[in-house]
Amino acid sequence: MTDVHLDLEAVEERDPGGRVTFHTEERHDALAGAPAPIQPDALDQSVVEEGKHLWTPYFFGGLFVVLVGGVAARYLSVNVPKWTADGGLSGIGASIEYPIYAIALGLLLNWLLRALGLRDKLSSGFRTEFFIKTGLVLLGATILITTLVSAAPSALVQGVIMITCVFGFTWFLAGKLGLDDRLRALLATAVSICGVSAAIAAAGAVRAKREQLAYAAGLVIIFALPSIFILPWLAGVMGLNEAVTGAWLGGNIDTTAAVAAAGAIAGENALKVATIVKMTQNALIGVVAVLLTAWFAFRVDKTADKPRPIEIWYRFPKFVLGFIAASIIATVWLSGDPEGGAQFSSVVKTLNQYFLTLAFVSIGLEFKVTSIKQAGWRPILVFGAAAVFNLLLALGVSSLLFHDFVVAS
């Protein structure tokens, strides 16, 4: 899940001008296949930031920028279809969904702030994780618990198959190309589970280095952004039904925010199935983190801490509980008050779209490629091959498991 922000104590060195610098030897150790000298700004500040920097004027400034972008995106998504209704562009105007406006405006603001030298300073306010998680809890209130329960077994089977096969493929290929074990673990976890969130959990489990985490996170975003637009279009070209489309998007796009964006473009029911599938995959991160900790403790770092079962709970994404609770509350409420339910559903859906819009603006604001340029071609090749494998496997598995699934309304 976009899963993009991580707030940690920063450890990079800075020169008197405030530029980030690294030691060349350490960089070679960290990123196999990266012989080039380390450049300033190699550490992606949008990914690795300091938690203590919250509640500063820059935090509120960043938040304000996200809100401005969100209001503008909503305004455009509501009014462009009206403005173009009578002209030759009516089809195009009506077909552009709100995630497209939000991401495009986020990218535009990103460019503008970068030109003004403010983008990195304000980045602590770009809270993609918070916006997407709140939006998904609200989405839970629009999904009947019966839908959730009926989709969960297929989603769980798909999650286990996808994680096992994609992780194994990525780990194997990265090993063949001689990548460092820790970077292998980060890339394999990121591409097989839930993007940056998974990479963060894996980084803790295998004691990865900061630049490895920043690099894996950068790759996730680079690959996720085009997927948001291309995969819903491909699903339409292939004639997939909404349930299979949702399961495919949820099963192969890495970050939760990008899954939500692609699902929203594909349709309301596709978004619901995509969210259920993605959340099931997210929920398995705790199990994978413990297994990785065990592997590195017993096979790689003989002196490392041994894993504890409680880690599964620590790593469990708690907002999944909020999503399920919202679904239960809304189902009970709607069954008892069908008349008030229409107003309730309309309000919750609108607020859900508000939060998702803010998350999508944040994705655009956080987009950054500097850390990718430093690492050479081998990790990019591994991630690209794994992404294609993930795409094809998810298509097969979701077609098998969701071809006759019906989303209850």
Binding site: R27, R207, K209, G322, V347
Partner: protein, 50 residues
């Protein structure tokens, strides 16, 4: 930000976990609070301009 250590340092998992947990819980609480307010009719369609 601290200015004294170098890249290559393992990610401090405790700091990451504490923040990730709080953001997860805050999102859950805010989301559920909105659901309850909408259920009680304290947030209405007319209050949402766009």
């Amino acid at each position: 930000m601290s200015n004294h250590t170098a890249a290559g340092t393992p990610v401090p998992t405790e700091a990451a976990r504490k923040f990730a947990l709080s953001e997860d819980w805050v999102a859950t609480i805010v989301g559920l609070a909105i659901v309850v307010l909408a259920m009680l009719g304290l947030i209405t369609k007319g209050m949402l301009p766009l």
